[in-house]
């Protein structure tokens, strides 16, 4: 009898737990699903309130097509976003791997000063130095170029990713390098052939954060990219949503938001392990 009661109590507790979990999950995921589904409505239906969220008058890609007609088009902005994000990933990985290796394995003048300097930039909000960045880019002839934006994004990634990479290199036992050096490996060979495979998880983590950071950044892109042909997705979509291209087409907004969200979600779901790892590393900092 007592056992039956406790079993029933356990079942009730489990039921309560899972209903809480399901309700909360739905609340968090619903806005995303709602948008993705609504974007597939024909334009006429997309103007109406999204009840129900899925298309009722037929599946359509019209919203994505119209989106391509605003300004320089969805595809142009998407290309800009892809270029900026990929370049940010590549450059921040190269720069951080080199610096992480340097800070981990060598002694040189001003080492501690440089390390503290790089890490301390995390205390300074980049929002407060955007004006001079704008002027510096103008001086360098990088004004209103995607390359200039990449430079800014890479710099923003550095404190986190260099910290991350230095710790990754620190965790590699020195014996491995010594053995490789016996075999005649030089510094560059050592880094690429011996060390890189060992710090690979750290590289994936910083690449993931660099991509998400660059893909989602809004304020710097808004300020620094003044020419419509250089707009990244967030800037282009905000211009559209503010009615800059005429009456606001909510169907196009849904389609654009879907394009902005889906790569982040796919990358996160595929590389979740690395993402959480990065958060943990940041959390102990």
């Amino acid at each position: 009898m007592a056992q039956a009661i406790s079993a029933r109590g356990k079942l009730a507790a489990r039921l309560a737990r899972h209903s809480t979990g399901i309700v909360a999950s739905v609340l968090f995921v619903a806005p995303i699903v709602w948008t993705v589904l609504s974007a597939f409505k024909p334009a006429a239906e997309a103007r109406l309130p999204p009840l129900p969220p899925w298309p009722t008058t037929g599946f359509s890609l019209e919203n994505y097509a119209t989106l391509n007609n605003f300004g320089d088009g969805l595809w142009a902005s998407a290309q800009n976003s892809i270029y900026v994000s990929v370049m940010t990933v590549v450059l921040s990985v190269i720069v951080s791997v080199l610096a992480g290796y340097g800070f981990s394995r060598f002694r040189f003048p001003f080492k501690d000063l440089f390390f503290v300097l790089i890490l301390s930039t995390i205390m300074i909000p980049f929002q407060s130095i955007l004006t001079p960045i704008f002027l510096v880019l103008t001086k360098l002839g990088l004004h209103n170029t995607l390359t200039g934006l990449v430079g800014v994004y890479v710099t923003l990634q550095l404190p986190f990713s260099i910290f991350m990479m230095r710790n990754a290199f620190d965790a590699v036992p020195r014996e491995i390098e010594e053995a490789a050096r016996m075999d005649g490996a030089g510094n560059a060979t050592m880094l690429v052939k011996v060390m890189l495979p060992l710090v690979w998880p750290g590289v994936v983590t910083i690449a993931l954060f660099a991509f998400l950071g660059a893909w989602n950044e809004f304020l710097a892109a808004l300020v620094l990219m003044t020419d419509q042909s250089k707009f990244t997705l967030p800037v282009m979509m905000t211009a559209l949503q503010s009615g800059r291209f005429g009456a606001i087409d909510w169907g196009a907004v849904q389609a654009g938001v879907t394009v902005m969200m889906v790569p982040c979600l796919i990358l996160f779901l595929a590389l979740q392990r690395f993402y959480i790892r990065g958060l943990m590393a940041g959390a102990v900092k």
């Binding site: 899972h18 309130p49 003048p109 909000p125 130095i129 620190d170 809004f218 958060l279």
Partner: protein, 307 residues
């Protein structure tokens, strides 16, 4: 899915071996240092320098000493923006913790489906603030959105209500959106803190007859001090710098009541092109954030442990 280590501590710094060509390290770190110089240190110095000037976008700039700073003292709209930013930071931080803490407790222990729930709760956190703001500006729209038409269809209101037209509903809509977006992130941080508390400590307290509330107060909270401080600082610093959601959803409205500090600096610098004045405003913001970082260092000063 992954199991998360209770704590991961950076290995102790090891002295570099006594190699001959140690200076080569300088070459490895040079690109990073150069980038930080060009895009951080120099702009930082320029901000300070520009803040002492009248600096239009076109034409000559002129030295005005502390003139811009005196102007800030009289700039009631900036102080209003700062006051609003402070109010928003307070409210949103409380709201985020009120949601994230229960979620962190909910997903702390590995049980069936916990990983799935955690992933679900976290999904909005990987979406950008701009995407989230665009998404919610649609959901909040009076005619084509979700909330107002749904409430109307359900008969909760007799005519469609524009959530973004007056301050209170607009403000709370933003709070709801930010909590939705950020709670999963704070949840993960808090979860690491919870997981770092030794299980036997809790069990010993249970044997001693401590109830769940007493255990939470006497064990969980004190042992989580550093994690709590970190989550708090991240939330406060992020909120003080809030811009995207207020720009995209509200354009600072209704009636300029939701202009945040960064938004005001943006307006002064890149709409009115008063670059010198914008730089002075930036310096004020910078001092606030650096002071906050110092508080952070103090709060995080010693590792969690049993005293």
């Amino acid at each position: 899915m992954t199991t998360i280590p209770a704590t991961s501590v950076a290995p102790a710094r090891k002295r570099a071996g006594a190699g001959r060509r140690q200076w080569i390290g300088l070459i490895y770190v040079a690109p990073a240092v150069a980038l930080v110089m060009v895009f951080f240190v120099i702009p930082l110095g320029m901000t300070a320098w520009m803040s002492l000037h009248n600096w239009p976008l076109m034409g000559e700039h002129s030295f005005v000493g502390l003139g811009n700073y005196w102007a800030i003292l009289r700039d009631t709209r900036f102080w209003n923006a700062l006051k609003f930013t402070g109010f928003y930071t307070l409210v949103v931080t409380i709201a985020i913790f009120a949601v994230a803490f229960p979620l962190a407790i909910f997903i702390e222990r590995p049980r069936p489906l916990t990983n799935l729930y955690r992933t679900m709760f976290f999904m909005p956190a990987v979406v950008g603030f701009a995407s989230a703001s665009l998404l919610w500006s649609w959901l909040l729209n009076v005619d084509s959105g979700l909330f107002s038409p749904a409430a109307y269809d359900l008969g909760l209101i007799d005519r469609k209500f524009n959530l973004l037209a007056t301050f209170q509903p607009a403000f709370w809509s933003i709070i709801a959106m930010v909590v939705w977006k950020v709670a999963g992130f704070t949840m993960i941080i808090l979860m690491t803190g919870l997981q770092s508390i030794p299980q036997d400590l809790q069990e010993a307290a249970v044997i001693d007859g401590a109830g769940p509330f007493a255990r939470f107060r006497a064990i969980t909270l004190p042992l989580m001090r550093r994690t709590l401080a970190l989550a708090l600082i991240l939330s406060v610093a992020g909120s003080i710098l809030a811009f995207d959601q207020f720009y995209i959803i509200l354009r600072g409205g209704p009636r300029n009541q939701t202009l945040t500090a960064v938004y005001w600096i943006f307006n002064q610098s890149f709409v009115s092109f008063k670059l010198g004045y914008g730089a002075a405003l930036s310096m004020v913001l910078l001092v606030i954030l650096v002071a906050l970082s110092l508080v952070q260092l103090w709060l995080l000063r010693k590792p969690e442990g049993l005293d």
